[in-house]
């Protein structure tokens, strides 16, 4: 280790191997069997439970917790997976404090919810460790469906279609399935290659063919028309492949945070990843937090999130903000980037103070500069190029409630489609529900 946290510029290997390992271990360690039993005991088994209502995939939470409490975690896992086949990942990445746990009646009673996320992880881990897949593909219907995009929406859609007996082909542009679970979320949320292990387990259902490094519309791969020619229906789970660019002088000096995170997720050795001594992240969402925290964990001396609006408006949850703060990330609010300047020995990001008034965000004359060796921009992702004929609704693909697009035999779901926050759990719900609708359509119901 020749470099340290104080090495100027952008450098790899700032930490010892032990430090990297410790920094990127499981952020929320799993419950032991005893801890799970104690946690499960706290569930009141509510009628028409608010937690289940708050879950985008409507997992029967009181039932699965009761199954854990009675010593049958595999049955609990089956309860979870029957609604949400990515229940293992969701247990790790869901913002439970705003979903199930936020709705737990124990919040009202004593401000401490039942640890639903950790219990879900306990149940799903138990089943996954046994390597068995609890579902089998249905009897073949003779229909075939193309699923474009192997992220959470596509995987959920493919699995549900397989259960119904349809032949499914997943077309994925990247080398691996998993989408943001594989490339996008912070490493410490799903360590030990969990995303890939979950995908492999999911595919055990059978009846799903996988084509990777295949991008829709790319020469040599295929078009939507090709897919419609080969398959009876197409599901688009193509996510948001573009990023909003920083349109300001020097904007090109910033790196998209998504690229930084993807490289980190795919790195075999974290010590090879260069990271700035001083890192500035522009944005206020989950991606900004994931990037800023991981920059710090990679050995950045300072990591600062700068968000243009007030802290209360940050898209990152309070839990995420606290997570950033406890890892030494500084959060500056009400400051909008004006320019990135290349100066001797690095960069300087110039910000203008902002004020939220009646007419929206107003930039003030008051400016300041932050020194930076690395600037990451996390100001939102956008739809990539769409096949001809697919209509948009605002920034997303337009769909009806069942996920049908403007084109016949084409459905869409996940981050590329509207409704709800861009969360894994929402993508799963949309993929699953689209599969149900595709099934009804194909079977003539």
């Amino acid at each position: 280790m020749t470099n340290s946290q104080f090495t100027p510029g952008v450098a790899p290997g700032r930490l010892s191997p032990e430090r990297y390992a410790a920094n990127f271990q499981d952020v929320a360690p799993p419950l032991t069997a005893h801890a799970a039993a104690v946690a499960a005991d706290r569930c009141y088994f509510c009628h028409d439970a608010p937690c289940a209502t708050a879950c985008p995939t409507t997992i029967d939470i009181p039932l699965f917790i009761r199954q854990i409490a009675t010593g049958t975690p595999e049955a609990a896992a089956k309860t979870i997976f029957s609604q949400n086949i990515l229940g293992g990942m969701c247990a790790r990445v869901c913002p439970t404090e705003t979903l199930c746990e936020g709705a737990c009646v124990r919040m009202e009673a004593e401000g401490k919810p039942v640890e639903i996320g950790l219990l879900q992880r306990f149940a799903t881990d138990t089943l996954l460790e046994k390597q068995g897949h609890p579902f089998t593909a249905g009897a073949p219907t003779g229909h075939s469906v193309a699923v474009v995009g192997g992220g959470p929406a596509g995987l959920a859609c493919a699995h549900r279609l397989a259960l119904k007996g349809h032949k499914v082909t997943i077309y994925e542009a990247k080398p691996k399935l998993g989408g943001l679970d594989e490339y996008g979320i912070a490493a410490y949320k799903a360590p030990e290659d969990f995303a890939a292990r979950e995908v492999a387990w999911l595919l055990q259902v059978g009846g799903i063919e996988v084509v990777t490094n295949w991008a829709l519309g790319r020469a040599g791969d295929g078009t939507l028309d090709d897919l419609l020619g080969r398959h009876d229906a197409v599901f688009l789970g193509i996510g948001l492949s573009g990023v909003n660019a920083l349109s300001l002088p020097g904007g090109e000096l910033a790196t998209p945070a998504t690229e930084f995170i993807a490289a980190l997720r795919q790195a075999d050795d974290l010590a090879t990843l260069p990271v700035g001594r001083k890192v500035v992240v522009i944005g206020g969402g989950m991606t900004a937090v994931d990037a800023a925290v991981q920059a710090k964990l990679l050995g950045a001396e300072t990591s600062t999130i700068v968000y243009r609006r007030a802290q209360a408006e940050m898209p990152a949850s309070v839990h995420e903000q606290e997570h950033a703060a406890t890892h030494g990330v500084r959060i500056i609010c009400n400051a909008a980037p004006v320019a990135i300047h290349a100066v001797a020995g690095g960069l300087e990001v110039e910000f203008a103070r902002t004020e939220t008034g009646g007419a929206g965000l107003r930039m003030l004359d008051d400016t300041f500069r932050l020194k930076a060796d690395q600037v990451l921009s996390a100001i939102g992702q956008t739809l990539g190029a769409l096949p001809e004929g697919v209509k948009t609704a605002g920034p997303k693909i337009g769909t009806d409630g069942a996920g049908r697009t403007s084109l016949a035999r084409v459905w869409a779901g996940g981050d590329c489609a509207p409704a709800g926050e861009d969360l894994t759990v929402n993508a799963v719900a949309q993929g699953r529900d689209a599969a149900e609708d595709i099934h009804s359509f194909l079977m003539g119901a």
Binding site: D41, Y44, H47, V105, A109
Partner: protein
């Protein structure tokens, strides 16, 4: 600090909390620790006759019923009486009593059902300086197969006969410990009284099997592939014990017979309830076995605070206070009407009251769009189930004042009237054969 001193049938102790005859009181070492922790008295684990002692199993001796978070709700035990030589126990009893003269020390006895056996053991016990004896007519396991324990306690004539021998051959106060494994507790209590018992203690353990091993298909505790019934104790049996204590306390012919209350006493509150139902003191086992001897300190402070709050200056003032209100069903006021009321401020919207009422009761709770739960007075029969299942105790029963109309029946709340005078009661002089005036 209230005065907790207790005088139970002439046996004095600094507080009314005694350890029951059971595994915790089998040895000098344990009993000394108990006294040091603050227990007012101890009933030494049951002694048997002279000669080779009984033998206990060395497989598991206890089974258990858990509540949430593995809280022990009930223990089932198959341990027999002391398996240590009689002379060792007697020597230890003498030594302990000498060192703790202010504490109660009663010796539990179980010997074969013949006069000579009882005569012989009593002489030995008197030599120890113990304060009294307790006749173990209660244990339902093991010893009962040999004609002792509950085998005696289930035959009132035997109870009377043995009690008479004990009073004949000893000057020591005599407590008769009763088994709950009978259809009515009154004949055994009466028999003890006729035999001259100074007091009864109850309940001994309830015949039970706590669990079944589902791999070996064997009742538990499992000893080398076999299980046997045991005696059940702990918080789970408290309701059975309170009823039996209360029955003896209110029944005309047993009223006034001193009672040592036993059965699931875990906190000061349990103890106070036993006292109010007619017990002169209480005996504890499972709470000590679960948490250790220190639990008595909470019992002492809790009972003391309660007495101070209520203005009671002696334990005797609590004894039997609830007995006049321990009524038979037929004397309950059938005109008393209450309705459940949900405190919306405290409600956490779990909906358990709704599920319980809708699925298993009277469909008397409405669930609003926003999960607001409200009681439908026109359906509520005041069963109290919603109160019982509410996890945050936000439901209470409100009494309808005299003269107000009960929306369920459309009738005005009338003054006290019970089943004995009810027109539907064939035994009542108001009986109408179900024919109403309108017909």
């Amino acid at each position: 600090m209230a005065d907790l001193r207790s005088n139970f049938i002439g046996i004095k102790s600094p507080n009314p909390f005694w350890l029951a005859s059971a595994p915790p009181t089998d040895k000098e070492y344990n009993v000394r620790r108990a006294y040091e922790a603050g227990w007012g008295g101890v009933v030494w684990k049951t002694l048997g006759a002279e000669g080779p002692p009984v033998v206990n199993v060395s497989g598991p001796r206890y089974g258990v019923i858990y509540g949430g978070d593995r809280r022990v709700m009930g223990i089932n035990n198959i341990e027999l009486i002391t398996d240590r030589p009689l002379e060792v126990n007697l020597r230890e009893i003498k030594s302990v009593k000498r060192d703790y003269p202010d504490r109660a020390l009663v010796v539990s006895l179980m010997v074969p059902c013949d006069e000579e056996s009882w005569k012989a053991i009593l002489a030995h016990v008197e030599d120890t300086g113990a304060d009294g004896v307790e006749l173990n007519f209660g244990c339902p396991h093991g010893m009962a197969e040999r004609g002792m324990g509950s085998a005696v306690g289930q035959v009132p004539e035997y109870i009377e006969m043995v009690t008479r021998w004990v009073k004949q051959y000893s000057r020591m106060p005599c407590i008769v410990k009763l088994t709950p494994n009978v259809t009515s507790i009154l004949p055994p209590a009466l028999a003890a009284k006729r035999g001259g018992a100074d007091a009864v203690s109850l309940i001994n353990t309830v015949k039970s099997v706590t669990s079944v091993n589902l791999d070996d298909f064997c009742p538990e505790p499992m000893i080398d592939g076999k299980g046997t019934h045991g005696g059940y104790c702990g918080p789970a049996v408290k309701p059975i014990a309170l009823n039996m204590v209360g029955e003896i306390a209110r029944y005309a012919e047993t009223r006034g017979l001193p009672i040592s209350g036993i059965g699931g006493v875990t906190t000061w509150r349990d103890a106070a309830e036993f006292l109010a139902m007619g017990a002169g003191n209480v005996q504890v086992c499972t709470a000590a076995m679960t948490y250790g001897f220190k639990v008595v300190q909470e019992m002492i402070s809790g009972l003391s605070d309660y007495m101070d709050r209520k203005g009671f200056t002696s334990v005797e003032e609590i004894v039997g206070r609830a007995v006049p209100n321990f009524s038979e069903w037929q004397h309950l006021n059938l005109n008393h009407v209450t309705k459940a009321v949900i405190d919306q401020e405290d409600c956490i919207k779990c909906g358990r009251c709704y599920a319980a009422c809708e699925d298993t009761s009277h469909q008397a709770i409405a669930m609003g769009e926003d999960r607001t739960f409200t009681v439908k007075d026109e359906e509520c029969v005041a069963c109290n189930l919603c109160v019982d299942v509410c996890p945050v105790d936000c439901i209470s029963m409100k009494t309808l004042p005299l003269g107000t109309v009960d929306p369920r029946t459309g009738r005005k709340v009338a003054p006290y009237a019970n089943w004995t005078t009810h027109p539907n009661n064939p035994g009542s002089s108001n009986y109408t054969c179900g024919i109403t005036a309108a017909e």
